[in-house]
Subunit: 763 residues, 2 copies
Amino acid sequence: MKKLLSAFLMCAGLQAAAQNKPHQNLVQYVKPIIGTQRMGHTYPGATVPFGMVQLSPETDTASYELNGKYNPRVYEYCAGYQYEDKTIVGFSHTHFSGTGHSDLGDFLIMPTVGALKLNPGVADKPGSGYRSAFSHTNEVSAANYYKVKLDESNITAEMTTSTRVGFHQYTFPKSDQSHIILDLMAGIYNYPDKTVWTYVKILNDSTLVGYRQTNGWARTRNLYFAMAFNKKFMQHGFKKYDKREVYGGFWGKFNQSKNFPEIAGKQIRAYFDFKTEEGEKIKIKFALSPVSMDGAMANMQAEVPGWDFDKVKTDGQAQWEKELEKIQVNASVERKQDFYTAMYHTMINPTIYMDADGQYKGLDQNIHKAEGFTNYTTFSLWDTYRALHPLFNMIQPQRNADMVKSMMVHFEQSPERMLPVWSNSANENWCMSGYHSVSVIADAVVKGNAPFDAEKALAACVETARHRSYEGIGDYIDKGYIPDEKTGVSVSNTLEYAYDDWAIAQMAKKLGKTEIYNEFIKRSENYKNVYDPSVGFMRPKKADGTFRAKFDPLSTINEGFIEGNSWNYTLFAPQDPQGLIKLMGGNARFVRYLDSLFTMNLPDKYFAETEDITRDGIIGNYVHGNEPSHHVAYLYNWTDKPWKTQERIRMILPRMYKPTPDGLGGNDDTGQMSAWYIFSSMGFYPVAPGSVDYSIGSPSVNSATIQVGNGKTFNITVKNQSEKNVYVQKMTLNGKPYPALTLSHQDIMNGGEMVFYMSSKHK
Amino acid sequence: MKKLLSAFLMCAGLQAAAQNKPHQNLVQYVKPIIGTQRMGHTYPGATVPFGMVQLSPETDTASYELNGKYNPRVYEYCAGYQYEDKTIVGFSHTHFSGTGHSDLGDFLIMPTVGALKLNPGVADKPGSGYRSAFSHTNEVSAANYYKVKLDESNITAEMTTSTRVGFHQYTFPKSDQSHIILDLMAGIYNYPDKTVWTYVKILNDSTLVGYRQTNGWARTRNLYFAMAFNKKFMQHGFKKYDKREVYGGFWGKFNQSKNFPEIAGKQIRAYFDFKTEEGEKIKIKFALSPVSMDGAMANMQAEVPGWDFDKVKTDGQAQWEKELEKIQVNASVERKQDFYTAMYHTMINPTIYMDADGQYKGLDQNIHKAEGFTNYTTFSLWDTYRALHPLFNMIQPQRNADMVKSMMVHFEQSPERMLPVWSNSANENWCMSGYHSVSVIADAVVKGNAPFDAEKALAACVETARHRSYEGIGDYIDKGYIPDEKTGVSVSNTLEYAYDDWAIAQMAKKLGKTEIYNEFIKRSENYKNVYDPSVGFMRPKKADGTFRAKFDPLSTINEGFIEGNSWNYTLFAPQDPQGLIKLMGGNARFVRYLDSLFTMNLPDKYFAETEDITRDGIIGNYVHGNEPSHHVAYLYNWTDKPWKTQERIRMILPRMYKPTPDGLGGNDDTGQMSAWYIFSSMGFYPVAPGSVDYSIGSPSVNSATIQVGNGKTFNITVKNQSEKNVYVQKMTLNGKPYPALTLSHQDIMNGGEMVFYMSSKHK
């Protein structure tokens, strides 16, 4: 008996191990280069899952001004890298992934040889500065590893990271004039005065610390660093570009340009000189902290005490492998590249925002310690509430709960007493519509992933949703909609508030708060108040209750919507598709509306208006590159033609996601576009986060195994999978026929077997 | 027996009490207004001894630029107040006392009524802004109390302080439009970009916190505040004057100009609206912290929990009374006003620089906790090593020891590993010549006031004095002087280094460090290397050892000296008057030289050159308004005509010190001018700090009682005192004849009786 038992346990052990066997090597399918061309706004550099450091090359640090004028190219450089570019300026330590705005790019490092050049120079004049030409043939971009040869200097640059430390490895030629440049002026979207203050302090001949204070996407942001070389520098120097330095005269008592231990100012560059032998490696550890220079130093000691580049690289890739293996799909190599790069892109933002000891900077601009949770920042919630956080509830429950806790401390520390809208680095900028934190929190609560004080969280949602002075909420509460006079985005806000209110109601119901449920379920119907039956569109409504005369449902400019036109936004009532269909004239008219959306011929002038996306990002008038339509293809499920959902999904998947630099049809938006791909390619999607139900689509993979925790798996098998067989003929769940068009979260988390039977003909 | 003993103890107790009886009311003689006219650069506002807060009116916040050009009046406003001015801009919380440069003026507060005006306006256009006309007849300036009536608004402004809290009390007329303005843009010497960043956060309807980051006299300076009203404001608002605000658009989702809880930027003003009844008092507590907003709030709670203005005022004045009573003089009311205002001015700087819990910001830009000492900042050492710190060794031994400990942490935390030269708010700017910290430390050590690690302190002095890369020290060590080619102040530096080196030698001797003694006693003779016997002056010497041809001993410009000409600086060898006399040709020639200095007719053109001082600040060519000559009048004591020292001192005292706004002949220089007065008016002066001996002059008081600690007193009685009887005929110490021209520190600290017998004829 004993033997049998132990034998059984062994098998169990083996089986458990099997679920995570590293030789599966899913990391090989991650292609960070996907989305680096055109509008994807991703970056090719190195990072670990949700890491504080994103160490990546800048091909341009597009300055806000060019010859005194606004530089239109700023927008292309949201992540600092454009695939077409021929030169690299340097390697910086912070990057947003797939956002629609430019920022970060802190602490640019560049190795050079020969005469010291402290200016980056211009791309079209090789040798005009420290920037270097490079070629994609000499470039490797992988999970937590980036490598490139710098043609100017013949230096091979390699980089990898831990959560808080960037690790550089530069292989130099033989030279008596080898330099490492640290540019504290450089930054993505580098408008004048963005750098508020910088400070550098040399601790010894191989270590320095400092900080950079910026006024950008985060209004009041301090980022501290500690930098260590594996080799003593022969000498170092600073150059200060500040226009004015009052009382600086006495500092002339030292020669502060060379081997001086500190410098402070707005515009500073530093350099470190070495002699190198042929093939000699200069390694740099660069640690970040949101708290202090001491914090950065401690982070470096805690995470990367030694100098083993390969170990840091391998450890980080093992972290990725562990995360990637939470969903194991069977598909062609190209589809696996799409899938696992999507997985990768969903696990970059939000990012960890605290020191190794748990200290972080709060919205109140004070230093706090995270007790019992990991603090995260970079919440692009208008994007990510839709599919990214629901994905986390499935495969990252612990992290999602910590993100909710991070939102809660944001709420408690924010002077405005509001949950995050778009928050980054202890600052809020209220970008985009709605208050979608409530959706994220509600989704976690209704799905039973709430290891936090849910009642307190509900109270925060309610206080946020009742914040009358915030973007029309007062009018919204009083009139049931936001008057056109109040804001240029009155309709999209009304629609999104209504959805968010429904999410609050679901959470209140789950927590048995009837009054709150009643208040917010009523508010959730407000979407109907901006629908104009005379034209069949959601439409800007004036304070007097009449609809605005001037109205173009195809235009996204000044029509009351943000990042979407009325044609798309009219479909935004994910909380109540049935009600919406009724509102829009019933099943037949609704199906016609959807068909037109996907098939109509959008006049050219409207493409120019459409932000963030390439022309391929639009199918007919369906704009996949922007989020408001992400649920739209699934709405056929509420009509008599669910097969059209299956058809559309299988059309969208290959058109919007390709394993190439230009493979993303629009900004990845900190993972939302990728999260849409992961769900949809497995055959289901969370149309209304805050509901326990996913809507069935059409899987594009051959099979998928989802690790749902506690050693359980939810296995999806797709029979007769092919590019033609896009229609779901039938489904079984755990062997039993499954007629529903929705799949419940609990069914997935219980583990089980779902089989899709595909066909080239719809039912 | 027992009865007798207890009776004796009672008497002892009474006697001890008698030594500090408050009804002496020495505070009444403090006239902070002294020195506020012309070049004194003192301020009339409220502060406690060595307080972190100096709450005082600005009559102008002279901007660096005026119509695009440098504003020459900046210099007049070093302390923000000029007696001739007719308007007050507001009341700010930080001021230097008597410095020769402009800075601080943080957090300007102004009460107004009627239509809100957020701009200060201009002095010659009443009503053009929030500034107000005022009259000295409605002004009270006392120790820790300032009061003035603002004519524009008819508001009576009163202010007092604790160490870290400014307490405002504004008595308003009846008005529906009463305002308190908090101007975060205002500042003394307010050049563009001086304000690096500011932040304000409203905690509730009567409390706010924030900070101001500036780049000025301290290069990287953060000052945090907490502000509390005794009455809820009806509403508040912000105005931001920043030229550019990128990504600010989304903030438009709130109306941030009114009742918004936070704001951040470079150029910000805030206002708070009230309704007031006739005679209603609005009180404000404004706490500072060098560490954090939480620190400021904690400081407020710790020091001023309540709202009793009079208690804070009385407590602060009791602190002053306690300090003033350390020296009790008998003299006319005018002389007492001179004396006790001088005492007052010696106890403003250095200032306490740590929170109530001991936390402070260090030179390494990290936060530290002061363990076992009080941390001080604002060390203007080129001025204060001469007489101020020696005075502290006599009547403030504990504070002076803490100041040395503060210098030591400065040394340990400074990236340059140097003791302070001119340090303020966790920053060093190396203003003026020498490394006079070593004099302060040596003086404390040789006088036995060293409750600190003296050997460690000596090591710091030695490391500083051997810092080859600092202002010519390398050449000084190699050649014995600083070549004229190296710096524009080669001679004054050589002379001051030589004196400092002697001070190090004295300390080394006391600590039995023979090698160090030998090294530095040798260096102390370097003053001889820049003396040119062919002209009889100290003179710029070139690297090749020859003296510079172009030379004007009367000029202070480009002659190798700082704030002094060769005529004055040639006498700067306080460590070795005998050697100097020999060098300069012996007794007779030296006396003639001194006589000429005091009596010669200085051509007009040289007055223009002379910084910091009024014409009255110069006697002949003797410049009392600048420090290099402060020991000069005492040098006759090393000749055969010591009676001339007595004569000169009694001439200088009444000419340079008067109990009037224009009573100071030059910048008070954070108390050095006043310390000179205190010593000299009592009849002795520390010619060479680092020596235990004071040089005898001629007392101008009738008597003085110095509390030297442990209940002991040193009593000075002056017989036959009169304006004519300036000559010391004889002296006794403890009843015995005292023939010496020097008085030892120990004789004073032992306590005792010194009697001066004065006469109108010299011996």
